[in-house]
């Protein structure tokens, strides 16, 4: 059931804010200009692009290209250049993570539902999977079994692609590119916490961005951290909203594609900074996949990051 798609424009002190819903997240575009017609143009262009990407790559949308591929039953599916480039990118992430990051691991959602559904008495997860459940679904995971080229993709029956790990960040980067083409005014695009800026605000001031503390749900109080961003992007990977608790242990939603289980001893969330959002997002996810060595990994790569354990 698609939410009604609408845009809300609000005038702020030195610019405009545009809010809309996409990819199951609140999205916001901030433009530092007084030119209202320009704001409307940018708002329409960005939201259109984000919704386009959502419609094309959402695994929850039965009409999307992603769903088409996932229901192809092992037969060849024709793809366009954009999908081909995304598959290439996924391939490289697979390599860089030694197979831990695998976009065919989406099928595991059938056994892991990270919706926080819990037993009201014990606070523990209602639908925690068993070893056999996970093993069953794991047999349908494996990027190496995907066969693709510039024109088509063949996905074995029972396997599924999940662009969730890169879709939102890709949409942020695409939006920034489009915004830069339209204007020189400072623009910030924020899709549910994954964000990027076209450059610093006017007068070389930095954008003040709040990062949410993962515990704000249970404590009921906001514990934000303010980060000053001048250029580039910020992405957060972690379990603020999606997690399970079983036997007192909190399981994050990032799954090890080789074992099918959530990564052990990973930080609860990692926020990284990089020139582009998709890079920041992958680095955050790659770090989480390192489990207890998450921070070491990022420090060695000389990445600016904040980790919460």
């Amino acid at each position: 059931m698609k939410k009604k798609r609408s845009l809300k424009l609000t005038k702020q002190k030195d610019g405009y804010s545009v809010i809309f819903n996409a990819m199951a997240s609140p999205c916001e575009v901030l433009i530092q200009t007084q030119n209202k017609p320009l704001v409307i143009k940018i708002a329409e262009m960005v939201s259109k692009e984000v919704w386009r990407i959502e419609d094309k790559y959402s695994r929850y949308d039965s009409l999307s290209v992603c769903s088409q591929i996932n229901t192809s039953g092992g037969k060849k599916t024709i793809i366009d250049e954009e999908t081909y480039l995304l598959l290439n990118f996924a391939e490289q992430c697979y390599q860089l993570s030694d197979g831990l990051f695998d976009i065919t691991s989406g099928v595991l959602r059938k056994t892991w539902s990270f919706d926080g559904a819990f037993d009201k008495k014990t606070g523990e997860c209602k639908n925690f999977p068993s070893l056999i459940d996970v093993k069953n679904f794991l047999s349908f995971v494996g990027w190496t079994r995907v066969n693709y080229d510039q024109k088509s993709i063949t996905l074995p029956q029972g396997m599924e692609l999940d662009f969730g790990g890169i879709g939102k960040e890709y949409a942020v980067d695409r939006s920034i590119l489009l915004a830069k083409n339209l204007t020189n005014d400072p623009v910030l695009v924020n899709l549910g916490g994954d964000l990027a800026v076209t450059g610093p605000r006017n007068d070389n001031k930095s954008w003040q961005v709040a990062i949410e503390h993962p515990d704000c749900d249970s404590l009921g109080q906001q514990q934000d951290m303010i980060v000053a961003l001048n250029q580039g992007a910020l992405a957060t990977s972690g379990d603020a909203r999606r997690y399970l608790i079983k036997d007192g242990v909190r399981y994050g939603h990032v799954l090890n594609a080789k074992t099918g289980w959530p990564i052990n001893h990973a930080p609860r969330s990692i926020t990284t900074v990089a020139p582009q959002c998709i890079q920041a997002g992958i680095l955050a996810t790659l770090a989480l996949l390192q489990g207890k060595h998450a921070e070491d990994f990022l420090t060695e790569q000389d990445i600016t990051f904040w980790a919460r354990r």
Binding site: N88, Q150, Q208, I226, G232, L283
Partner: protein
């Protein structure tokens, strides 16, 4: 894997697997940059282009230092400094320093082939130096607390201003100071000109009061009835002041991506009590045997100037990304002292998170005009006290000094840095052209002072 590899037609042809084999860990960031540019069709952005930092958190630096001279002074110092950056790039820096000093320090008298007795600065008690030993006064132990505050903010495009205050207090000394500084960036922030001014007011209330210059050190039985009255005759007051004004002009220039240079010039005027009330000079007969010890006297003003230049160069991969830092300072003042300092550091990265930094510093100074290691009593004319200035403090005499050490630093998770430093410091006073009388011929008139410095620092 082979079928996919053959079919990939990326615009930039490179083999991922080879990339991975070579130096996998270091190249994830670079590999990801290339992958991103292929996906988005943009040019590859390398280096630290994205820039973000905690906007409302304090950054702290802490350090603990131990300084230990062989047989002489030992000092320990702890520092904690916090910096907070506010909106609009305003920065507040607060620092607390505590140091404690104990041990013995040269009292200015020269070594003798016999034992010598001196009176403590407070006038209460004597101490004896054995023959052949440099006289050292070991009554020094003091604790000092210092507070600094500095506020920096942009005043206009490319102009930054800063003001600060300083307070330092120890048992017998109080120092209060203010400073201000303006910096102007130009040439796309590749060049900076800065100018700073600072002023300090100090008050000194030494134990035992201020001695009368050239009066003889009273040596005898400090528990006798007339001691206090006699001691008081050698004193001219309880406390003295001094004021210091410093002016600094600096210029920094980024030469290229790898090299930065800096130059500065400073001019400093100090007015007030500049004599060391704890120091004496030995009055020797023509053979070189001590007859008397008299309190020193220095001018009541000093004008110091210095010129400084520094270069830092960051080498590339072929030289392991090391950084060389070389600086030179020439100082001169109206007391006749000239000095040269050459300081070099070489930073060698070790792995991705740590570094080693060897350090060598060489210092050389000429003696002050009124410096004398001792006075021969025939310089007294008709028992008139000598006028003018005289001091035998080796620290304003002729000397060279060398510091050799190394620092090891490591970046911990979260960007916190821990470092260790150890250095060997050797001061070598030399004869500035005095002919030693016979009694001093087999004695060490210019003893070497050695010290070891160890420091641990942690920033978070």
């Amino acid at each position: 894997m082979n079928n996919i590899k053959n079919k990939i037609n990326v615009s930039k042809k490179y083999d991922i697997k080879d990339n991975m084999k070579n130096n996998k860990k270091c190249n994830i960031k670079a590999a990801l940059s290339l992958a991103t540019s292929a996906l988005l069709g943009t040019t590859v952005i390398v280096g630290n282009v994205a820039h973000a930092q905690d906007a409302d958190e304090w950054q702290f630096e802490t350090a603990f230092l131990l300084y230990s001279e062989a047989d002489r002074v030992t000092a320990g110092e702890g520092i904690i400094a916090g910096t907070k950056t506010f909106d609009n790039d305003e920065i507040l820096n607060l620092k607390l320093t505590v140091d404690a000093l104990t041990g013995a320090s040269a009292n200015g008298a020269v070594v003798q082939p016999k034992a010598q007795t001196f009176t403590r600065p407070s006038g209460n008690g004597q101490y004896v130096t054995t023959e052949g030993e440099t006289p050292l006064d070991d009554t020094f132990h003091d604790t000092r607390v210092q507070l600094n505050a500095q506020w920096t903010q942009p005043l206009a495009d490319n102009i930054t201003g800063s003001v600060g205050a300083h307070l330092s207090k120890e048992y017998d000394y109080l120092s209060l100071g203010l400073n201000g500084n303006l910096a102007y960036d130009f040439n796309k922030k590749n060049s900076t000109i800065s100018m700073g001014l600072s002023h300090f007011q100090d008050t000194f209330t030494p134990e035992g009061g201020i001695p009368k210059p050239f009066s003889s050190m009273l040596v005898g039985d400090s528990s006798s009835v007339d001691w206090d009255a006699e001691f008081a005759k050698t004193r001219i007051g309880d406390s003295e002041n001094k004021s210091t004004t410093d002016m600094l002009v600096g210029f920094t220039q980024v030469i290229n991506r790898r090299m930065i240079t800096a130059f500065n010039y400073s001019y400093s005027i100090v007015d007030g009590y500049l004599t060391d009330p704890f120091k004496v000079i030995s009055v020797l007969d023509t053979e070189g045997l001590a007859q008397d010890y008299i309190y020193e006297n220095r001018p009541d003003s000093r004008v110091k100037q210095s010129a400084f230049m520094q270069t830092k160069y960051h080498f590339d991969d072929s030289l392991f990304n090391t950084v060389a830092d070389v600086s030179y300072r020439y100082m001169w003042d109206d007391w006749g002292i000239n000095s040269h300092t050459i300081d070099t550091r070489f930073t060698i990265p070790v792995g991705k998170k740590s570094y080693i930094e060897p350090h060598i510093r060489y210092y050389q100074q000429g003696a002050a005009d009124f410096y004398k290691p001792y006075i021969i009593n025939e310089e007294f004319v008709d028992e008139q006290p000598i006028t003018g200035f005289v001091s035998s403090d080796y620290r304003i005499g002729e000397m060279s000094a060398i510091t050799i050490g190394a620092k090891y630093g490591v970046v911990l998770n979260g960007g916190n840095e821990l470092s260790f430093r150890i250095e060997y410091y050797r001061q070598m006073p030399t004869n500035a052209g005095f002919t030693d009388p016979s009694a001093l011929n087999r004695l060490d008139v210019y003893p070497v002072v050695e010290a070891v410095i160890a420091q641990v620092s942690y920033s978070f």
